[in-house]
């Protein structure tokens, strides 16, 4: 349980942190993290809105010049310094750098408590699909009968239909976290990721045989080359790649710290990044085939049914399920896939927090899982299983993604490159065991190109939220919950980084091993 660190080789004490027993399990867990709700309900619409088939070009450019290089940076930090985000940054650059790690941890904590709620909804909808509980008006059913949405506020009017499945989700998550890195996270990914691929493939095949499916695919893939001259389209591509890959906020650092020292991290990173995009493409085909059917069945154009996010999953898809032959099958496959994709991502997000608390206080796996899991579950239930949960969730999600994840990613990249000047060293580390050699081009991409692209995206987002209140929500909600949560995690990070580590934890960087 305790970390018996040695001054010469601090990583020796890391056995007890947990390990993935093989490269395959690590890759599956990393894919499980990257493939989430956004792959299914965000990518198809972003591609459709931003040039259709022509979007492939900015998308691939963003993947190659920003997504994969950034993913490898995260892998490099976690694999080299062998710790949670705060411990890795502490070993990389000292006490100030540790703040970056805690900032990422705080963001993950906020995300975990609302992300679980959407999984709980998807669990309910998997069962609703069987008898099409939403009847003829899925939107009224969602916001009225099911969520019982009240005016924006903070109250304690619990919605039983959300509370109980949410409690169940958290119990499952805590059980997985207690089981550990290999027996919990790794085992779950090893079963669920192949299952997800099979279920989604079945969904895609079913959708492709619906009348109107090809019209949907035509809408998705017909190229609008003019879009390529629009800077907003390029920003959308970089944003999609960035949010989709789970990079920049501690997840990949944490997972990489559980991988054997001789593992080929660059080769693994290519597989994870391309697997994520492969699933996105599959989701695009499945979603637009279904939307094509919906448009034809309702006698309207695709642009009238095309949507994303909650509206796609919980309003458009129920309508499709009601219309389609064997709709219940489509429903169970679609919502079941959302549950599985969401769960493997949620687990990676909460692991960032557990791993950090565990490292700092040198706790056992079980204690750390409970110390993090129980308060997170309580906050999740109190804030989001209520009639006032939806606007809170929507606001927290919008702001923490942009002014949490995106901001911390840019700041940490710039700090690692220009303040701590560790990029050369990380490149050498990755090249020691990597099958894809990283040259100076990687330094340029990670140190200059990617941060520049992400800063542009960030400024665009900032302009958007300053131009008009997000979703027309009241100022107290936007300032208190939106900006408030983004600011709170930063303040907490500064405080937590100043707290002392247990003396048993070695804060010096592990010595490099000669490999191959």
């Amino acid at each position: 349980m305790a970390t018996h660190a040695q001054a010469s080789d601090p990583s020796a004490g890391q056995h007890s942190r947990g390990h993935f027993t093989s490269r395959r399990v690590f890759i599956l867990a990393a894919i499980g993290s990257a493939v989430g709700l956004g792959n299914i309900w965000r990518f198809p619409y972003v591609a459709y809105e931003n040039g259709g088939g022509a979007f492939l070009i900015p998308y691939l450019v963003a993947l190659l010049v920003a997504g994969l290089p950034f993913l490898l940076l995260d892998y490099g930090i976690g694999h080299r310094y062998r710790g949670s985000a705060p411990l890795s940054f502490r070993r990389l650059g000292g006490a100030t750098a540790e703040t970056l790690g805690w900032w990422q941890v705080g963001i993950c904590a906020v995300i975990a408590i609302y992300y679980a709620v959407i999984i709980a909804w998807a669990v309910r909808y998997t069962f609703f699909s069987i008898d099409e509980s939403w009847g003829s008006a899925p939107d009224e059913f969602l916001f009225g009968d099911f969520l019982q949405v009240a005016e924006p506020g903070i109250g304690l009017d619990f919605v039983g239909g959300v509370f109980w499945p949410l409690l169940l989700v958290w119990l499952a998550v805590i059980a997985v976290m207690v089981a550990g890195v290999q027996r919990g996270i790794g085992a779950l990914a090893a079963v669920f990721i192949p299952l997800l691929v099979v279920a989604f493939l079945a969904l895609v095949i079913r959708s492709l045989f619906l009348p109107g499916a090809l019209d949907g695919l035509d809408a998705l893939f017909a190229p609008n080359w003019g879009a390529l001259t629009n800077a907003g389209v390029w920003a959308a591509a970089f944003g999609q790649i960035f949010f989709s890959l789970s990079i920049g906020f501690g997840i990949m650092i944490t997972y990489a710290s559980y991988v054997g020292r001789k593992t080929d991290m660059t080769g693994s990173g290519l597989v994870v990044g391309l697997a994520n995009s492969s699933f996105e493409l599959l989701a695009g085909i499945g979603v637009f085939a279904a939307l094509g059917f919906m448009a034809q069945a309702s006698g309207v154009a695709i642009d009238e049914v095309a949507t994303e996010g909650l509206g796609l999953a919980f309003i458009a898809f129920p309508a499709i399920i009601s219309e389609a032959p064997a709709g219940a099958l489509i429903g169970v496959l679609f919502f079941g896939s959302l549950v599985v994709a969401g769960l493997t991502s949620l687990i990676s997000v909460i692991e960032v927090v557990i791993s950090a608390v565990r490292d700092k206080l040198d706790l056992s796996r079980t204690t750390a899982s409970l110390v993090v899991g129980v308060p997170a579950a309580t906050a999740s239930l109190l804030l989001f299983a209520t009639t006032t949960g939806v606007p809170l969730l929507d606001t927290a999600d919008h702001f923490i993604n942009r002014f949490g994840i995106l901001l911390v990613a840019v700041v940490s990249m710039l700090a690692v490159t220009w303040v701590y000047r560790d990029l050369d060293h990380l490149r050498d580390h990755l090249n020691r065991t990597g099958s894809v050699p990283l040259g100076s081009w990687w330094l340029a991409l990670v140190g200059v190109v990617t941060p520049a692209a992400l800063v542009y995206v960030l400024i665009e987002e900032l302009r958007g939220v300053l131009a008009e209140p997000y979703e027309g929500y009241p100022a107290w909600l936007i300032n208190g919950v939106g900006w408030g949560s983004a600011a709170l995690v930063l303040v907490l990070a500064i405080v937590l980084a100043r707290l002392p580590w247990r003396r048993t934890v070695d804060l010096t960087a592990p010595t490099e091993e000669v490999s191959r």
């Binding site: 088939g53 090809l214 893939f221 190229p223 391309l274």
Partner: protein, 42 residues
């Protein structure tokens, strides 16, 4: 589907799925190194 949409769909599949297949091939061809420590997961 229009011809240009079919072409873009095929190009997307070839590049993304083909890229994944190549990446997996590259990974499995290189030396299979697994962690050699004892795995205690407490």
């Amino acid at each position: 589907m229009t011809t240009s949409a079919v072409v873009m769909m095929i190009v997307a599949m070839l590049v993304v799925w083909g890229g994944l297949a190549l990446a997996i091939r590259n990974l499995t061809r290189t030396t299979r190194e697994e962690p050699d420590e004892v795995h205690r997961d407490l």
